[in-house]
């Protein structure tokens, strides 16, 4: 088993981060080219707790070493199942995802939590953790290698993911500021 854990602070409010979290894999994000599609499977709002629960299916394509392809099968397309819980009152987003493809051989479970930063106001804390386990029967050495490669790939994707998300947040803020400015000019144009 391999464990991955990291934390990061985004210099954006929890509201901005949790909103843009839904658009992370958009066309502006060239760091997320391995994500081919994101589909929403279900969405429900709990009447009592107001927790918003969403299930999504993420379709990815990633290259991998030849020898891994031979063991796992050569299709580069993989599917990830993600469930997220947004608690707007507590200001907390929790996202749990796991691979569906090759799950009988390799299990990658990821958890991401976004909460307002305790260090800086208007910032958001991002905590990410993952568990990687190779289940395939066979030599321990092969299992270890598969886990190591997966962990390294996960680490690279995590770094790209953060960079890409920073870019999405930046663009979103610019667009929002532009829209507010245009609205202000319109109001003043009408008032004048």
């Amino acid at each position: 088993m391999r464990i991955f854990a990291s934390q990061h602070e985004f210099a954006y409010s929890w509201e901005e981060v949790s909103t843009n979290n839904w658009r992370k894999y958009c066309a502006h994000n060239d760091k997320a080219s391995h994500v081919l599609a994101v589909d929403t499977l279900s969405r429900s709002l709990d009447a009592t707790t107001h927790i918003l629960r969403t299930e999504r299916l993420i379709t990815c394509r990633q290259s991998m070493p030849q020898w891994v392809k031979r063991i796992m099968g050569s299709d580069d397309t993989s599917y990830v199942y993600e469930v997220s819980y947004v608690d707007a009152q507590a200001k907390r987003v929790t996202m749990c995802s796991q691979n569906m493809t090759w799950s009988e051989l390799l299990q990658v479970q990821e958890k991401v939590v976004y909460t307002p930063s305790v260090e800086a106001e208007g910032h958001t804390r991002f905590e990410q953790s993952a568990r990687i386990i190779a289940l395939c029967g066979g030599w321990q050495k092969i299992k270890n290698s598969i886990e190591e490669i997966s962990l390294e790939r996960f680490r690279q994707n995590a770094a790209k993911g953060r960079e890409g998300f920073e870019r999405v947040l930046e663009i979103s803020r610019q667009v929002f500021a532009q829209q507010r400015e245009e609205a202000r000019q319109q109001r003043e144009g009408v008032a004048a």
Partner: protein, 81 residues
């Protein structure tokens, strides 16, 4: 927003995504949402998607993944604090 795995669902998906983002940022985050107003659009998108998932043989894989997720539901559907 990103594309659907089924290109035939892209249009209805985009309409749903746009509705959701607006509802999410203007109502849900301000704690003024009482219902999911985008539900009718979602149902249209879901009809298209369900058919596509079945055609691609992904539906069974999904049922297995959902069964695995029961523990997460138990933990994260409780309000914090």
């Amino acid at each position: 927003m990103s594309a659907s795995l089924a290109p035939e669902c892209n249009d209805v998906k985009e309409r749903y995504d746009t509705c959701f983002l607006k509802w999410y940022s203007e109502k849900y985050l301000r704690n003024t949402a009482t219902t999911d107003e985008c539900e009718p659009l979602f149902r249209q998108y879901k009809t298209c998607l369900t058919k596509a998932l079945k055609e691609r043989g992904i539906d069974q894989m999904l049922e297995d993944a959902k069964a695995d997720n029961k523990e997460n539901d138990a933990e994260y559907m409780k309000p914090v604090g």
